[in-house]
């Protein structure tokens, strides 16, 4: 059973729908703002913030006011990808997240830990990762399957892979798959304490890169089966052709220097469908802008593809690193690259690593048939998705 992408939904620092995200990618306009102090008064870093408050999201979505920001972002993006969904069908909702309801539970924990003020139970009930997904089930068409994945920054990519497996096995007809994460003090301070936040806007793949910018948002694909395409006469956007999930098995917070995990993820994705390296037209990089990730990813690409490596770029300078959502947001961008037959330029790049891959720097039209989307996480969780033009 083949798996197709019927539709996409997104909310990111670039905008609250697919077309506004696309416009800004093609205009090379980033969505970052130098204003993390609204999350944590003691810090100021560039962040990719979604320009909608929880109250605005709630009223737009007609949702429960207790929902976490991660759930609200998720629901907003999911609503954008349901146009070609025909019910009844066996529908799944599989979502990746790393912080779950943390942004909301921080107001509980702040009071609970410092014993000042009343810690409100309403602020903690949707804390878990599972709640980020299940708490919005009531807003969606009837679901046969709900699951949540947390493999750090590859969470959404693995949610999409699991969605494809459920459809391929014939157990589901359609799956809403992707991920969502909101900015919060927890991750902002966590990454700050790891000293991998760039003081400036991030410079993925650049020799002088010095870290990442955090972001928030959500990105989902509506995956449908071949049978569903035929039954409802849907013209899909592209095919989800292959995928792979591996572990680098090297270190808790660093990829191996030679990029063994990234290499295996990309190689197994190609091998699974017998595609040769020369057939890949574009790689949407994980490209966080950290010293370690970009070195490992670049090394893996050179090892697998050689000097004639495909066009590549990181879109994280536009959105920030949206952690558990990034694999979903970048899957949407990969689908757009096929739809538009265009590649989105990497921002802030001036000097290549040596050795290193040089990303695309201008928005140019290209023949785009096969696109790889890379997602790598702490704990060595490396995943890769392959999208194909129909």
């Amino acid at each position: 059973m083949r798996v197709f992408v019927a539709d996409t939904g997104i909310v990111s620092a670039l905008g609250a729908d697919v077309e506004s995200n696309l416009c800004r990618l093609l205009d090379m306009q980033h969505g970052l703002c130098f204003k993390s102090s609204y999350i944590d008064p003691d810090t100021d870093y560039y962040v990719g913030r979604v320009d909608l408050s929880n109250e605005e999201l709630c009223s737009m979505l007609d949702a429960k006011t207790k929902l976490s920001r991660t759930s609200l972002l998720s629901l907003h993006a999911v609503n954008g990808c349901l146009k070609k969904l025909y019910m009844p069908c066996r529908l799944g909702f599989i979502s990746g997240t790393t912080v779950g309801g943390m942004e909301r539970s921080e107001s509980f924990f702040g009071k609970y830990i410092s014993r000042t003020g009343t810690a409100k139970i309403g602020d903690i009930i949707y804390h878990t990762c599972g709640s980020a997904t299940s708490s919005i089930a009531y807003c969606l068409p009837e679901l046969s399957y709900i699951s949540t994945i947390n493999t750090a920054c590859s969470s959404a990519a693995n949610a999409i892979m699991l969605g494809a497996q459920k459809i391929k096995s014939g157990q589901l007809d359609a799956v809403i798959a992707g991920g969502s994460d909101s900015l919060c003090r927890f991750t902002l301070n966590g990454f700050r304490s790891l000293m991998i936040l760039d003081d400036d806007r991030c410079k993925p793949m650049d020799l002088n890169r010095s870290g990442l910018n955090l972001g928030e948002g959500a990105g989902y694909l509506l995956l449908i089966s071949e049978d569903f395409v035929e039954k409802h006469g849907i013209s899909p956007l592209c095919e989800l052709k292959s995928y792979a999930n591996v572990n680098d098995a090297f270190h808790a917070t660093a990829l191996s220097g030679e990029g063994e995990g990234p290499y295996l993820a990309m190689k197994q994705t190609l091998d699974r469908v017998g595609l040769s390296t020369g057939e890949i037209d574009y790689i949407n990089l994980h490209g966080t802008g950290t010293e370690n990730n970009d070195m490992a990813e670049s090394a893996a690409i050179l090892r697998l593809f050689g000097e004639k490596y495909p066009l590549s770029s990181s879109t994280k300078p536009y959105t920030g690193h949206t952690l558990g959502a990034s694999g979903g947001i970048e899957a949407v961008f990969s689908v757009l690259a096929i739809r538009e037959q265009k590649v989105f330029p990497n921002l802030n790049f001036t000097e290549p690593m040596n050795p290193g891959t040089v990303p695309v720097l201008k928005p140019e039209a290209h023949r785009i048939r096969y696109v790889l989307s890379n997602s790598f996480g702490f704990g060595g969780n490396c995943s890769c998705l392959l999208f194909a033009k129909i």
Partner: protein
């Protein structure tokens, strides 16, 4: 729903009972203390490299320790490592939050932050075993273990994978317990909370298997009573294992509530599954004469999982 026959080759469980160390654990069943089922933990230094152990939190120890124990007598290359957790690394998470909100300065040590994500349990296991294969972590409030088993079975059927490590674990902390009790004041009577972890080697190979998964599927909750009835006849079910007792099931088949041994927590079904395997294999089973056991669980969104596990003859 299952294309290939799937077997369990080994298992291991850390729980409130002496399930990790003693095959005769059922001879002295422990009751909850102060309304809680706390784990009987082994001396981890006997099992995990001390240099590695120093950097691990408690729930990661549940995971890695049961993983290593379940691999002790199994000579198999693992094609996937899949873990389930509901609460994740809640202690590390809380400790980082404490630094954030209690100390008047920003935290400088990233150690507890690094240990706070759910995927560190499966990831540490991969690093420890130097295993580069498929690696994933499923989270859910009610069915994380069942969803992880679903993912494991999909992986066995979607690829040439042959052996998969399936694990599940959750830990209780004083703060978590306090918060759970505050939440449940607004709801039903407070459950007896527990904690624990279990690991299983799932395999397409029957050789040296300890049990077979005869049936596994997720179904709509509304179809559950009828499906359980049908399967009870088809597989000559001796016992039905549930989280909570349920009046819909056949009267003539005894129901076992595994929370009475382990307490209630998101992945307690993993301990329930371990208990089922123990009943099928042990010389001192807590529940006698079992050949086929049906396990059933359901979430509030109308999604149910049914597993039938039986002896290999």
């Amino acid at each position: 729903m299952m294309k290939d026959r799937i077997y369990i080759r080994s298992c291991s469980c850390i729980s409130a009972q002496d399930t990790f160390a003693s095959p005769a654990w059922a001879e002295s069943i422990r009751s909850p203390e102060n309304g809680l089922y706390r784990c009987m933990e082994p001396d981890y230094r006997d099992i995990i490299d001390p240099a590695f152990l120093r950097r691990m939190n408690r729930v990661q120890k549940f995971g890695l320790c049961t993983a290593l124990n379940s691999l002790r007598d199994v000579d198999a290359r693992l094609d996937a490592i899949i873990f389930a957790t509901g609460w994740g690394c809640i202690d590390s998470t809380y400790r980082f939050l404490e630094r954030l909100f209690d100390q008047k300065e920003l935290p400088v040590n990233p150690a507890v932050f690094i240990q706070s994500t759910h995927n560190t349990i499966a990831a540490q296991t991969a690093i420890y075993l130097k295993n580069k294969s498929f690696n994933s972590t499923i989270s859910d409030n009610r069915l994380p273990f069942e969803l992880a088993m679903d993912n494991a079975i999909l992986c066995l059927q979607d690829s040439d994978s042959r052996n998969i490590l399936l694990g599940a674990c959750d830990e209780l902390t004083p703060q978590l317990l306090d918060i759970l009790n505050r939440i449940s004041k607004f709801g039903k009577p407070e459950p007896l909370y527990g904690e624990g972890g279990a690991c299983f080697i799932l395999s397409k190979e029957e050789e040296n298997g300890i049990a077979e998964i005869r049936y596994f599927a997720s179904i709509p909750g509304r179809d559950m009573p009828e499906t359980v009835n049908d399967l009870s006849v088809r597989y000559s079910i001796d016992y039905i294992f549930t989280l909570h007792s349920n009046g819909f099931f056949p009267d003539d088949i005894p129901q076992i509530q595994y929370t009475n041994y382990f307490g209630d927590f998101p992945t307690c079904a993993a301990c329930g599954f371990w208990l089922a395997l123990d009943c099928l294999n042990s010389k001192n089973p807590p529940i006698p004469c079992a050949r086929n056991i049906l396990l059933v669980s359901e979430n509030k969104h109308g999604m149910a999982f049914i597993t039938v596990v039986g002896k290999i003859f």
